[in-house]
Symmetry: C2
Subunit: 625 residues, 2 copies
C-alpha cells in the first residue's frame, strides 16, 4: 500500500446493511489517486447506464486523497460524488473542513454507499470500524442539532459529522452534503442522493496519522506553506473569498439580478471588507490551513445568525445577494446560515431564487403562484422565505427545489430564457461575459456550469502578472480575459486538468494555486507524502484521466456536444454598466472546437486511443456505440 | 537571453556571400529549445513547399541546444537538418563528438545555410565571427585530409571540423555530415544537401564557456553523471554500442542478409567483446562524457584501418557486417573507416549493399550490372568495393548511391521486395519483428525508418526490469517486446516525445536514458543550465511540438498515412532461427491507429487545436487543404 493512503475503501450496502472493507492494488491508487479520480472510476465502473439518480441503484461515494489529512495547508479536502439528480450526469463536488482529514485518520480512504436504507440511518466510523445506526430521531434536524445529537449519543465531542439537512431529506435537487457545519460539497445535488438513501449523516472519528513517506521533506514543504501562504493569500485571510466583490463590481463581473447586470449599487456593503468591518467575529480555517479564508459571523438583529455555521463565502454573497438584487449583508448572512443549516447549495439556491424573481418581474409568476411572496429583486424577506420553502419543499419552494431547468419547464416556455443553467446546473457567480475562458470552461465541465471542475484564477482574469508561473505550461504570452484564441483554450485545458488533479489529490485551489505554491512544490509535496518518484507530467495526466472518465460517463448517459452550451443571455452585453462585451457566439463555438481538438475528442468523443493513452482502455467500452 | 544559449543564430547565404547574426526573442528558445526544435521550426517556416532538396532553395541547419557544451556527460551533441534528398520530407540527424560544443563556445547556437556557393567553399567560425573561405583545394578530399588541411591553413590544431567527404560532394543521397572524424549526423542525407551547396566544411573554434544559471546545481548533477554513468553504462563503456550483438543474435534480432534472418553464424566474431579482444586500441568519448562508448580500432592487415576515424558502432557492425552476411570484423572495421572518410551513412550504405546482394543472389543483377563485382552475401571485398563506388558514384555504385527505393525502381519491380525502406530511408539495424513497438515507431517517424526519432531502450525489448522508471509516465505494467496494445503504443508515444526532446536539448540517449539518469534529474539539469522553472511536462511538450512540426512538414510535402508503412518482409517470420514471430498486419495497423488517436491526429493529420495546444497555431496554415 502506498504511503499517504490507508489502503482501505469502505463499502456499505444500506439495503442489506452489509459493510465491508476493500483493498485495491497499488496501481489503482497511482492511476486514480483519490477524490474525483476514485469517484469517476466507481461511477463509470459500477453504476448501470441510465439509472435514476435518486433510486437505490445510484451510489454515493466519499473519497479523500493521499494528501487529505497530511498536516499541511490546503490538504484538508475530500470529494463526494454519484450520478447527479440535477444534471443526470457525472456528479461530484468537493469540500474543505475537517471531515475528510478525520476520515483518513480513521483508517479509510473512501466510502462507497450503495442501496437504500429502509429507515433513516447514519454511519459511524471510528478507527477502521464502521457501523450503521438508527437516525430516525435525527430526521428533520438541521445541521447543528444533528451534529450535536450525534456527538452526544456517541459521547465524543470531537466526532466530525457529514450530514444532510432537511433539503437533502426532501430530495431538493441541489441539496448539498455539509461537513463541520460550514463546509459543503455543494454542487450537483449529492445531498439529494444521500437523502434518497435515507442516510442522514456519516460521523467519523480517527486517531491515526496519515502515513508519510518522507517526513522531513514533507515538513519542509508544510512549513513553507505555513510561512508563505498567509502572505501570498493575505487578501483571502483578511477578507475571505468575498474580497473579490470589490474588484468584480467595478469590472462588471458581479452577477446581479439573475445575471442581467454585472454590478450593483451598494456593492460596497457586501464586500469582504464590509464583512470584516461589521459582522465578522473570527476567521476559520480548514484542517491544517494557515490561510484561514473561512469566515465566522454573528448577527443579532434583525436576524439571529448563529456563528457556528460560519459566514458567507463569495458565492453565497453573490448568489443570495447581488444576483437577487440584494445588498443587505445581514440578510445574506442569514441566508448563508440557513443554506448551511438546511443543507442547500448556496449557488443553485440563490440562482434559482434569482431566476424566479426575474420570472415574477416579467409577469410569468404572480403572488398566486408564490403563495403571496413578492418575489422581486431586492426583496430580502422574499429571498429568505424562499430558502426555507425550497429546503422544506413548501409552497412554491417545491417547484424551485427542482432547479431552474425543471422549474422553467413547469412555469412555461417563456421562463426558459431566464433559466440560466448548463446541463441542468445553475451558473456559479462568475460572469462568463467578463471571464470568457471560464465560459468555455462552464460549457465543457462534466458537471455543467461549475467553477470547480475546470479553471481557476488565471483564466478568470487577464493573464499577465502571474504569467511567469505558467511558463512551464508553455503559456508564454499575456492574454486578455475575453480572449478565446487557442492560447486561452490551451490554458483552459491545462488548468482544468490541474484542477481535476487537485480534486483527485484532494487539495485546495487557493493554497495550491499554480501562481502561489506552484507546480514544482506541489509535485514535491506529492512525492514527500506518497514516496512516488512522480513528476508534474504524471499529476496532470491524473487530472486528464479524471476529465476523460467524467466525459465518458456523460456520453454514456446520453449527453452530446450540443449540451456543451451556454445560455443565450451571455451572448448579449449588459444593457448598462462597466462591462461592454459579451461572449461572441462564433468565438465561443470555435473555442469549444479547439478544446475538443486539444483533448483528442473528435466530435466531442474521446477516442479509444486517447483513453488508452490515459491507461483507461477499459472506459472505451462505455462509450455509446 | 536565457542561460544556456548564446542568443545568436548565424545565417549564411552562400549565393550572395552575405553573413548575418540573428537574435530571437526569449520565448523562441523556450518553445523550440534547440537542435531538432530549431530545425523543425526553420524547415517549416522558411522552406517553400515542394522544393527540390538538392537545389539552392533548400537550407541546411546546424543547431546545438542549451545543454550542448555544458560540461556534463551526454551534453556534447548537435543536430543537422534540412529537407531530405532521401525521403523528400523532414530531414534531420544528430551527432555527438566535440563540434557542437565548440560551436556553442564560439558564441553561436545555430547556423542556417542558404543558397549555393558558386565554387567550393567552407565556413570558418571563431568566437562569434564567421567568414566564408575558398575550399576548391579541399574538394575531393576525404575527412582526415580535409580536417588537417583546414587546421593547417588556419593555424589552429584545436579547430573542430564538420565536413562532407566525396560522398556528399557527389550527392549520394545518404551522404552524411561528419564531425571530428568519428561522429556523424548520419541519416536523411544531410551530406548531400551540404554538397549541393558547394559547402565542404564548417570549421569552428571558440573560447567562451556556455552560460549556466545555477553553477552549483549544475556541477552536482554533472558530478552525479560522472560518478554514476560509468557504472550504469558499464557495458557501453567496456564494449561500445556493439555490445548488443551478443544479445541480439541469440534472440533473432541481429539483421542478417538484408533482414532475411535474425542471426548469423560467427556472430561471436563481431561482438563488442570480440572488438575489445582484438582491434580496440582506445575508448573515446564525446565532449565531457565519462561513458566513453566510442571506439578506436587499428588494423594493419589485410587492410589498414586508420584509428583516427574511430571504430565501428553497432549500426555499422550490423549494416556492413551481418546484414551483408559478413562476420569479418577487420573488413567491417575497414568499411567503418571508409564510410567516415567518404562521409556515408553506414546504415543506409550497408543496407543498400545488402539489398543489392539480395538482388544479385536472386538473379535481378549480374556481374554485367555490377561491373564484375560478385555482389554476394558474405563477400567482404564486394562490400568494400561498393562502399567506395557508392561514395564516388562509380560504376554500379552510382545506382546504389540513390538509396534502395530509387535503385529498386531502376533495377526493376521485382527488386522492390528487397528494398527495405520507409519513406525512402533504409531501416536501421533493429529488427521490427523482435522489437515490435519500434516497428510502429519506424512507420510513424518523420524521417522514415529511423531509430533516432522515436524510441529507445525500453521499447526495444521486454519492459519489465526498468519498469519502475516508467511509473511516472503512467506505465505501470510490464509488456512484452511484441506487445502492440495501447499500453505499448502509449509508451511509444511518450518515449518518442522524450527522444524528440533529447534531440532538441540536444542530449545523448544513452546517458539520458529514462531508466538511468531519469526524468527528474534531467529536468533538474535543464533547470540548472537555463534557469527556467521547468518541469518534465514542459520538456515532453517540447518533444511533442517537434514531432508535430515534423509531421506537418511531411504532410505539406505530400506524405499521407499510407506512407506510415512497413516493408512486407517484416510481416513474415524468419524462415529459420530463434525468432519465431513476425509483425501481425492487423495489430500493426491498429497500433498506428491508436498512435494517431493518442497524438490527436485524426486521419494522421494534426488538428489546428492540437497544434494550438503546442503553441504552434501558425503551423496549421502549412497543412494541406
Amino acid at each position: 500500500m502506498p504511503y499517504g493512503y490507508n489502503g482501505k475503501i469502505l463499502r456499505v450496502d444500506l439495503s442489506s446493511g452489509r459493510i465491508k472493507m476493500e483493498e485495491y492494488p497499488d496501481h489503482f491508487y497511482r492511476q486514480y489517486f483519490g477524490g474525483e479520480g476514485f469517484i469517476g472510476y466507481f461511477q463509470l465502473k459500477e453504476l448501470k447506464p441510465g439509472i435514476e439518480p435518486l433510486s437505490h441503484e445510484n451510489k454515493l461515494i466519499f473519497a479523500a486523497g493521499p494528501l487529505t489529512g497530511a498536516p499541511a495547508g490546503g490538504c484538508g479536502r475530500h470529494s463526494v460524488g454519484g450520478k447527479s439528480p440535477l444534471t443526470g450526469g457525472y456528479g461530484e463536488s468537493d469540500s474543505g473542513g475537517y471531515w475528510g482529514a478525520e476520515l483518513k485518520m480513521a483508517g479509510i480512504d473512501a466510502i462507497i454507499i450503495e442501496g437504500r436504507a429502509e429507515k433513516p440511518t447514519y454511519l459511524f466510523i471510528q478507527d477502521g470500524k464502521a457501523e450503521l445506526k438508527d437516525a430516525r430521531h435525527l430526521w428533520g434536524m438541521k445541521g447543528l442539532e444533528c451534529q450535536n445529537a450525534i456527538r452526544d449519543e456517541l459521547g465524543d465531542s470531537l466526532i466530525k459529522v457529514a450530514y444532510i439537512g432537511p433539503a437533502g431529506e426532501n430530495l431538493v435537487r441541489f441539496a448539498n452534503v455539509m461537513h463541520d457545519l460550514d463546509a459543503a460539497a455543494g454542487r450537483t445535488g449529492m445531498g439529494a442522493v444521500m437523502g434518497s438513501k435515507n442516510l442522514k449523516a456519516i460521523a467519523v472519528r480517527g486517531h491515526q496519522r496519515v502515513s508519510i513517506a518522507d517526513t522531513a521533506a514533507f515538513k519542509e514543504i508544510a512549513r513553507w506553506i505555513a510561512e508563505n501562504t498567509p502572505i501570498t493569500n493575505k487578501g483571502m485571510h483578511d477578507f475571505g473569498t468575498a474580497r473579490v466583490v470589490a474588484a468584480l463590481d467595478p469590472a462588471g463581473g458581479l452577477p446581479t439580478r439573475n445575471f442581467q447586470l454585472g454590478s450593483i449599487e451598494g456593492a460596497d456593503k457586501i464586500t469582504g471588507q464590509a464583512m470584516k468591518d461589521t459582522i465578522l467575529t473570527r476567521r476559520r480555517a480548514c484542517f491544517a490551513c494557515p490561510v484561514q479564508c473561512k469566515r465566522e459571523v454573528k448577527v443579532d438583529t434583525p436576524y439571529v445568525v448563529d456563528p457556528q455555521y460560519g459566514g458567507p463565502e463569495y458565492e453565497t454573497v453573490a448568489a443570495l445577494g447581488s444576483d437577487c438584487g440584494i445588498t443587505d449583508l445581514l440578510a445574506i448572512a442569514k441566508g448563508g446560515e440557513m443554506v448551511n443549516a438546511y443543507g442547500l447549495d448556496s449557488i443553485s439556491c440563490g440562482a434559482t431564487i434569482a431566476f424566479a424573481m426575474e420570472c415574477f418581474e416579467n409577469g410569468l409568476l404572480s403572488t398566486k403562484d408564490t403563495g403571496g411572496v413578492e418575489l422581486r429583486f431586492g426583496n430580502t424577506e422574499a429571498m429568505l422565505q424562499m430558502v426555507e420553502q425550497i429546503a422544506l419543499r413548501q409552497g412554491f419552494g417545491d417547484t424551485l427545489a427542482e432547479g431552474v431547468a425543471r422549474a422553467a419547464k413547469k412555469i412555461g416556455s417563456a421562463a426558459e430564457e431566464y433559466a440560466l443553467h448548463i446541463k441542468g446546473q445553475e451558473l456559479p457567480m462568475h460572469e462568463p461575459r467578463l471571464k470568457q475562458g471560464l465560459g468555455v470552461g462552464y460549457a465543457i465541465s462534466p458537471t455543467g456550469a461549475d467553477h470547480c471542475h475546470n479553471i481557476h484564477d488565471t483564466v478568470y482574469t487577464d493573464v499577465g502578472p502571474m504569467l511567469e508561473a505558467l511558463y512551464p505550461l508553455g503559456i508564454l504570452e499575456p492574454m486578455a480575459a475575453n480572449d478565446l484564441s487557442s492560447a486561452k483554450i490551451r490554458l483552459l485545458k491545462y488548468y482544468s486538468e490541474y484542477i481535476h488533479f487537485l480534486n483527485c489529490a484532494v487539495c485546495c485551489y487557493f493554497v495550491m494555486s499554480l501562481s502561489l505554491v506552484g507546480m514544482e512544490r506541489l509535485t514535491q509535496l506529492v512525492r514527500a507524502v506518497t514516496g512516488w518518484d512522480t513528476t508534474f507530467f504524471e499529476l496532470l495526466k491524473v487530472g486528464e484521466r479524471a476529465t476523460n472518465m467524467a466525459r465518458v460517463f456523460n456520453l454514456r448517459e446520453g449527453f452530446k456536444t450540443k449540451d456543451d452550451t451556454m445560455p443565450k443571455r451571455f451572448f448579449t452585453p449588459h444593457p448598462s454598466g462597466p462591462l461592454k462585451v459579451a461572449l461572441d457566439p462564433k468565438a465561443f463555438e470555435e473555442g469549444k472546437a479547439i478544446y475538443y481538438d486539444m483533448m483528442g475528442w473528435p466530435n466531442g468523443i474521446p477516442t479509444p486511443g486517447r483513453l488508452g493513452e490515459l491507461g483507461i482502455e477499459w472506459a472505451a467500452a462505455q462509450l455509446p456505440k
